[in-house]
Symmetry: C2
Subunit: 494 residues, 2 copies
């Protein structure tokens, strides 16, 4: 069109129909009488709280120490981790009576967040019945069995400068994959606009994960929402996999108070072993990933690294470490836990990304790493590309195997169980243990026993169900994995 004189003349006729000579002066400036018609600053549409937060009131996140779970020794106390978060959210309502909402597809209680009802009602504008449980017209717990509505409500709510969290079953978060993508794009694009202030983060809590579905089955097993988020810009997305309640508190405290992000927190709601006391959890979450020194015996020179990200992955990895220390005590094992998945990115890709030096500190430069992951292995594979010797990372994760079965059978079906991990470690260790063949056979035998047991009893073997970390060789600390040769024999789990 730009090259067609007839079309250009037509365009000019159209533009001149607005009589620009009456609207602009000789220099092309809008005439003052018209400029004065615009609302004064602060009254303009773009300055409305509902269009542009403008004045975000920071969320008053309660100090989370009171909700901490007491963990005298790692891996011995069982607790429904999201209950602790429920209490934090209850008091977040208390301290922010007008600026905070929880969105949830009718699962607040099932997700163990029910403590919020001690302080706040579900919202329903219609008439309530006597049998209704904590329902009122001005309630701020937004329950509706539509992930689309929950997502849309929270998007709109944070854009006004207020705060919230969207808690949902892990598999069904994928329902809003497209909406989440568009919100990420909104954040990516608005970051470049100087006149836009920060927007509170959009926080997701994914519970009822693929690994624990109780009476639900294969349809409810889908960790794929994470994959959608990690493809977005590092400036806007964060994924956290807290292994226990205290880590969940630390991560949630950080996320609830943040602006400008989409924070994805994934943790199951079932009773689970607790690993870190509050101080250790705080330090671990601040680092994002660290060596769990008390769990390993590899010191500065491990034969193999067992890494894990996600609560079930952590349980199986720790159980594998204990089994190895008991059955192959000469094998030097290091255990690494990753709570902030973004640490695995290159620093060029994500601001949380570890330098290659920090990466080597955790994972060594050349030892094989048996990495047990909450989601699809591909998510970790893509983060590791171009790390030194990336091929030494052997990632196990959810691989679309599942049904309505026992918790341990889920990890067996997906080959992420403690026995799969232990066997992997034996095969991949720099110096294989003396009786490797016998040990591998023992792993297989345990898997056979498991299969026979659940076929007969419909529940897991007692030694699996009641497994705890066998002994705490030393108190929790965050010392950088010192050489432990001198104490190794006394530290072996029994």
């Amino acid at each position: 069109m730009a090259r067609d004189p007839a079309k250009l003349a037509e365009l000019e006729r159209w533009m001149r129909s607005y009589r620009p000579e009456e609207l602009f002066d000789d220099l092309g400036e809008l005439i003052p009488e018209l400029a004065a018609l615009a609302p004064r600053p602060g009254r303009r549409m773009g300055a409305s709280r509902h269009a542009n937060h403008g004045r975000v009131r920071p969320l008053a996140v309660p100090a989370y120490e009171p909700y901490a779970v007491s963990v005298p020794r790692p891996g011995t106390v069982r607790f429904e981790s999201t209950r602790a978060l429920g209490e934090l959210l209850r008091d977040t309502y208390r301290d922010n009576p007008r600026d905070f909402r929880l969105m949830c597809p009718d699962e607040t209680n099932s997700n163990r967040l029910g403590a919020v009802f001690e302080r706040e009602d579900r919202c329903f504008q219609g008439p309530t019945l006597a049998s209704d449980d904590h329902v009122s017209a001005d309630g701020r717990v937004m329950e509706v069995l539509s992930e689309h509505l929950c997502q849309g409500w929270l998007e709109g709510y944070v854009l006004t400068g207020r705060h919230g969290m969207f808690a949902t079953y892990e598999a069904f978060a994928l329902v809003v994959a497209s909406m989440a993508t568009q919100h990420a794009k909104w954040l990516e694009a608005s970051a470049a606009l100087g006149w836009r202030g920060p927007v509170p983060s959009l926080n997701y809590l994914l519970t009822s994960t693929c690994w624990r579905n109780d009476h639900n089955g294969f349809s409810h097993q889908g960790p794929g929402f994470m994959d959608t988020l990690i493809s977005k810009k590092g400036s806007v997305v964060r994924v956290y996999l807290p292994p226990d309640a205290n880590c969940l508190l630390s991560v949630s405290d950080h996320c609830l108070g943040s602006t400008g992000y989409m924070n994805l927190i994934i943790i199951d709601k079932q009773p689970q072993l607790q690993w870190l006391d509050l101080e250790a959890a705080r330090r671990h979450c601040a680092q994002g990933a660290s060596v769990w020194d008390w769990a390993g015996n590899g010191g500065n020179d491990p034969d193999v690294v067992l890494a894990c990200a996600g609560d079930t992955a952590t349980l199986e990895t720790l159980a594998a470490a204990a089994w190895l220390r008991s059955n192959a005590p000469e094998l030097r094992v290091r255990v690494v836990n990753v709570v902030d998945l973004m640490k695995l990115f290159s620093p060029r890709e994500h601001p949380h990304g570890m330098t290659d030096e920090a990466f080597a500190e955790l994972f060594t430069l050349d030892r094989d790493v048996c990495f047990s992951f909450h989601g699809y292995a591909g998510a970790v594979h893509q983060l590791l590309h171009a790390r030194p010797n990336a091929a030494r990372f052997h990632v196990r994760g959810y691989k679309e195997e599942g049904t309505t079965t026992t918790p341990f059978d889920m990890v067996v079906l997906n080959e992420t169980s403690r026995y799969h991990i232990a066997a992997d470690a034996i095969r991949r260790a720099r110096r294989p243990p003396r009786d490797a063949t016998t040990l591998l056979r023992a792993c297989d035998a345990m898997l056979d026993r498991h299969r026979a047991h659940i076929a007969r009893h419909f529940e897991d073997l007692p030694e699996i169900e009641r497994w705890v970390w066998p002994d705490a060789p030393r108190p929790l600390d965050d010392l950088p994995h010192p050489a432990r040769d001198d104490v190794r024999t006394t530290e072996r789990p029994r």
Copy 2:
């Protein structure tokens, strides 16, 4: 419960209320009078066409030669590739008047598939108006601006044993990520059921890709649906990135006639350079990935490999190859095109996966590979994990940069342009060309020229917009990249 005698007694009372002694004989078999009540085989619910296809009538896919685009020389003819598919679909309607439907969110014409209206109407059950265009109550082109409906309709339709395709804008396929995941799970689970026969594949065509959005912008740029699919089992998912019309025909022919898969085909609808004649396209698609020998000069011993998957990625890679052969003729370049993305998987992960030997044949064992990709780089990174020297693959893809801009500016913003690829090749070649610094400066200068030009003219530089493959050094063939030293000087593009 299994251990509580009172609960067990309660369960027994309940079960006995059905009077099993009247229903079963002494051996626990159902008594014949009751067994006879069940409908005879063929009349049972599970045998209904609507519950279990049972008797899939194979789709009569027309021979696709008549729709082929004539490509006398690679990279010189421009054509809207999906138009050729539209003609194939038109005649698919002709040959399958009762067993085929196209689902599309009101974009059939916009996606250049309008030829189907020469044979078939849009479906609308209500009264039609004189102004309606090809609308009737028994029309079998299903247009509705809801990706959810299109996906649901097609899922149900293929489960009855009939056939179809769902054509939609690439970015909005993510709307059905969760539904697609559930369909994948259905296929994964039903594969283990012997009594279920094959179900026609669910075929997706994604057009209006992230690279060409014309008047649409950032919101319409999202290649993430692919990431959702590739995490599912290799037994059910396939992703194809045909670079031109003849490859699209070959791939579509294969997908339309297949059963048991979710086939994702991604290609833009805009006029684009055509690379392969029908025979070459057929051979290339059968291999899934191959060396485009006519495009390179690297023979058996390239200094660097340029690989590409996706139409825009192919265009920019070929333009980079031509630029390098013209400006750095001593640099030995190999060009590899990947049309079947699943070929990159390990054969343990996907039945299409290449062996390491075949992989090395294409990509060498140790040369750096500048890989230009249609989607997010992470999708390729995860497929490459554990391939020999995976870190030598430098993948460029969509990285959430975009706006309403020119086609070439999209690849510049995402650093996937021919000049980015050429500069990468120069930096990463085993033997850098003599005047590397000058060449790198030339690439930067071209990018600067581009930016200045579009800021002034709102359209791409003529040399970009009208670029064609400069000369066909030799006719298309599929010889396995022979040594070319003897002819290199005469083959250099001008």
